[in-house]
Homo-oligomer: 347 residues x 2
Amino acid sequence: TSLKVGLIPGDGIGREVIPAAKAALLALGSDIPKPEFVDLLAGFELFTRTGTALPEETIRVLEEECDCALFGAVSSPTRRVAGYSSPIVALRKKLDLYANVRPVVSVAANPEDKPSVDLVVVRENTECLYVKQEELTIGEHGKEARAIRLITERASRRIGQMAFEIALGRPRKHLTIIHKSNVLSTTDGLFRETVRGVPSLPGVNGKYDGVEVAEQIVDSAVYRLFREPQIYDVMVAPNLYGDIISDAAAALVGSLGLVPSVNAGDKFVMGEPVHGSAPDILGQGIANPLASIRSAALMLRHLGYTKGADRIDKAVDEVIREGKVLTPDLGGKSGTKEVVDEVVKRI
Amino acid sequence: TSLKVGLIPGDGIGREVIPAAKAALLALGSDIPKPEFVDLLAGFELFTRTGTALPEETIRVLEEECDCALFGAVSSPTRRVAGYSSPIVALRKKLDLYANVRPVVSVAANPEDKPSVDLVVVRENTECLYVKQEELTIGEHGKEARAIRLITERASRRIGQMAFEIALGRPRKHLTIIHKSNVLSTTDGLFRETVRGVPSLPGVNGKYDGVEVAEQIVDSAVYRLFREPQIYDVMVAPNLYGDIISDAAAALVGSLGLVPSVNAGDKFVMGEPVHGSAPDILGQGIANPLASIRSAALMLRHLGYTKGADRIDKAVDEVIREGKVLTPDLGGKSGTKEVVDEVVKRI
Ligand SMILES: CC(C)[C@H](C(=O)O)[C@@H](O)C(=O)O
Ligand SMILES: CC(C)[C@H](C(=O)O)[C@@H](O)C(=O)O
């Protein structure tokens, strides 16, 4: 058997780092089924060339032929572009990848030591302001734009369940619900209450008894994240807060170029580095490939290939710990290729 | 003549820090018109006692009798409370205090040195998700909650103008627009374009020519805020992003207990520390009074009493720089009262 992986490099450095993830998967040998790759199109650059940011064919191949996928990054238009809509947001929704799981872990100098930051952001991935129901009207004083923020019990429940599962599998078993229900009492109130209600759902039967639940209002959560990151273990958040919080957490571990994620649903999983398309460093060969490589590991972990995932993660940690072959975002002098070679050598 | 100041301590440590601001104003002597204070009610605790979080009388006195005001903090209910709505959000709207101006400045060890963080968050204060138009319906899969996010041209224009004014008055004259128009192309698109359009408004006549304009997507703005805060000078943002960003920035200068703000409109100004009601330290006499004292200074500055404002700010900076009399959030061992005495002595 084989493991069919859809590769969607997208824009910018997405195209420079997805090959790194591919190389890492290939290096695993018999620890995973033989990987087969299929290159798929999506992105803003594709849109400007063809008028389509996410071809039907990409979705079809992912749904019908692939076991999993890796997504690179998309560029954001610098002004409003008629007809364009972010392909990553659309992909998450079309494949019902309802959870965006983003572990943010620092690498301790000594492998025996505890990392100073060790948390997982579990971000709801299909609704909140990302439903993109916006309208523009003309009022008495000029233009008025409105967007709908949707929070449903169903989506809050399944992201809540995912977060409890993840918390249960970690030593600390601690879960913080992020919300702003002091202002958004109905939407964030629903999110908070639904997540809190997960342990009493029918069929749960005390399974989550060991999980300790806390909560934080989003603004103060970001403040405390910087001041005392060690208070967090698993953080569960509606879509937009999760987006902001995971970038904030990434700042704590040295670089966005280190932080992986998976977009996970009940049937499919897609790895994706948390960083963007980074037009400022495009084409210089210095994009950090580690977030992309770690995203491949996270994808494997999600599929149950723990041994393969462990080998990749260990190799990445070693390279970081040694500190000799790193890209400039981490204070190093090496290029993408050298870092990939170094990781592959250790896998 | 006198300066009539409405005092609204609100909940929690709001009641411990507002007297500090009062003491600082009283210490100024003839640098400002003789201050007269009027105590006004608002808050969650008031709501639980009386069913009203913001009495009509409070608004009436502010509008008809006061020259300015100082607000402490409000507690957030820990579960949904029927009929309760945040009085600070309501006050900002009722008094049309459309700008929340939050300078975040670190105190350099040497008064001659430049502070490592020196930025101002200019937060829109009346709309975005704070319009609180929420509804709950029952759909096929359970409860569905929706909130409206409103962005208008009018509100974006006036906050944009305020931000350009503030940038113009600062040495760097640099303005960063914070948005998420890669997802919210209509609402955040309108915010971004309207702010960008401020220099070409009729009557502006090249006034803002010296201001350099940049922009950042909110998630990456928070990331960069932690990594390289020196890139920012003035940041202008829709309401919720501004809320999060100002807390994030506060983490960079040592404590939320240091960061002041004013809620400013065309006719009225209300100082307010950025911190919350901090129930965890309530009643211990250790709340940091400096954010509240600095909010009084910022309020004076806004009213044109520059000399009084300078004297307060200088006294606060000295106390921080000396580092002998500080509250525990700054690593000190002193209580609120001792810190207030120390500041007042130096004013
Ligand atoms: C590119 C953008 C649409 C995306 C998001 O907001 O989800 C990105 O910031 C992310 O975190 O994956
Ligand atoms: C208490 C809350 C409603 C308020 C806000 O969100 O505006 C607070 O966080 C602030 O920043 O002043």
